[in-house]
Symmetry: C2
Subunit: 275 residues, 2 copies
């Protein structure tokens, strides 16, 4: 096989706490989010380089996945999702590269091994902590224990809502994660406790709103949008970490915004074509 | 909400070993299989009774799920899959009922809790050991540790082949599981070791073929079909437990059979519609 394509859903984190460990496979985050039918298509062929929407780019986590698999893979990815805005695009690129390269080069890795590769690459690059394992699962993943599939444990909110989102610009994951995350993590743990008590969509959204407030991450644009959606009886929260607001159903359009609209991804990252 | 529908993929087990424990949540099986885009649609409304393809029926695992959730749910299910032929239809009914009833009655259960409910119902009914957790995951699930999501652990073969299948009649899961399963389980453990060594589609199929032989479960019709597919260069094995043969790609039609054809299910059990 000289070409394979994987689809990886976008992932918006609603809240999280940082969970550091000596080994990247044990590091990550606890928290919850929603995966999106808007995602990243990653095509791998033998060769070199990495293109995103046709533009040459360099993504540390993708380089690291190639090195870990020991393959010379050309990566060609397309997405409608904005970068650096809290949609897990770098995690999607890493995981999509792992899934498609395993197929092209016959590496013989299992799904968990490929997820672990991509998770460790992303953690070491400092570009994400929980996107990869969430994107592998799909739905509304709850990250109960951090880390790769051998160490972590996931659950999910049993709902599949339509999602609307608007992005007001970038917010650097690296910068926030490099700063003092103690307050943020305390807020994330509290939000997770509230969700696990009653794991529904409503509770997820309210826990995410509370987290953004408590962790002092709310931007002015996002705060305004959440208030506007709330006034029309809708349910919105902030994407972590991005200057992005997301809402359930048609919450943002009802509040007068012009959002992107998609559905909750049902099944998680997957190869597009196969024998 | 007064109605919800869940889709649960069919699941063909290629090989397994019986893993008994005092608690049903810790019981189950180790092994591997393939989930199918041919599955069961389960619609739940307030009420009573259970219908399958329009016919009133009684399924112990479904009754048990309703009791565990404490709801009066009418279950209306449709499927193109044959019953008692190794496709996990009873597991699909239990899991689909759990997912849809949770939605209709606002039970506030997480995905893992619903999978656990359905798994325990199926184990106690004696109608299956590993279908429910496999059907929840989708793809080609490997059951590494047995039991519900809190205890078990899954991996997956990173492939999504087309599948063809032919059923020659029923085979009672209850009867086989009630007999001496020591030899069968030894063969299942050996097949699992071989797959985990090199977790690819080819290895899954050859391990499944070996298992059917070693466990002395092969029926004459299935043995003939596997041989015929092999002669045309294809790859087939027996569905556990059913008088059913399945093949990768167009293996059965190339060998002159008139099979059903579907794809590997990508994402596992899911609600069909949502807010």
């Amino acid at each position: 096989m000289d070409r394979a394509t994987a689809f990886v859903p976008g992932h918006i984190t609603g809240f999280f706490s940082v969970q550091s460990a000596a080994k990247p496979a044990r590091s990550g985050s606890r928290g919850a989010g929603v995966t999106l039918t808007d995602g990243v298509e990653v095509t791998v062929t033998p060769g070199n380089g990495c293109r995103l929407n046709g533009e040459p780019t360099s993504i540390t986590a993708v380089d690291s996945v190639r090195t870990r698999l020991g393959v010379d893979a050309a990566v060609d990815a397309t997405t409608s999702l904005p970068l650096g805005a809290g949609f897990g695009v770098s995690g999607a690129l890493a995981l999509g590269t792992a899934l498609a390269a395993n197929r092209v080069f016959g590496c013989g890795k299992s799904e968990n091994e490929l997820i672990t590769l991509a998770h460790c690459a992303e953690v070491e690059a400092g570009t994400g902590l929980g996107d990869v394992v969430a994107q592998a699962r799909g739905g509304l993943p709850i990250r109960i224990d951090p880390g790769s599939p051998s160490h972590g444990r996931l659950d999910g909110v049993a709902a599949r809502p339509q999602i609307e989102y608007v992005t007001f610009g970038e917010l650097s994951t690296e910068e926030v994660l490099a700063g003092d995350t103690e307050n943020l993590s305390r807020a994330g743990e509290s939000a997770l406790s509230r969700l696990l008590e009653w794991p529904t969509l409503d509770r997820f959204m309210s826990a995410a709103r509370e987290f953004a407030d408590d962790a002092e991450l709310l931007t002015a644009e996002v705060a305004d949008a959440i208030a506007a959606v709330d006034e029309t009886g809708g349910d919105a929260a902030m994407a972590m970490l991005g200057n992005t607001v997301f809402a359930v159903g048609d919450g943002l359009s009802a509040a007068g915004y012009d959002p992107e609209r998609c559905r909750t991804d049902a099944g998680g990252a997957r190869l597009r074509l196969d024998e």
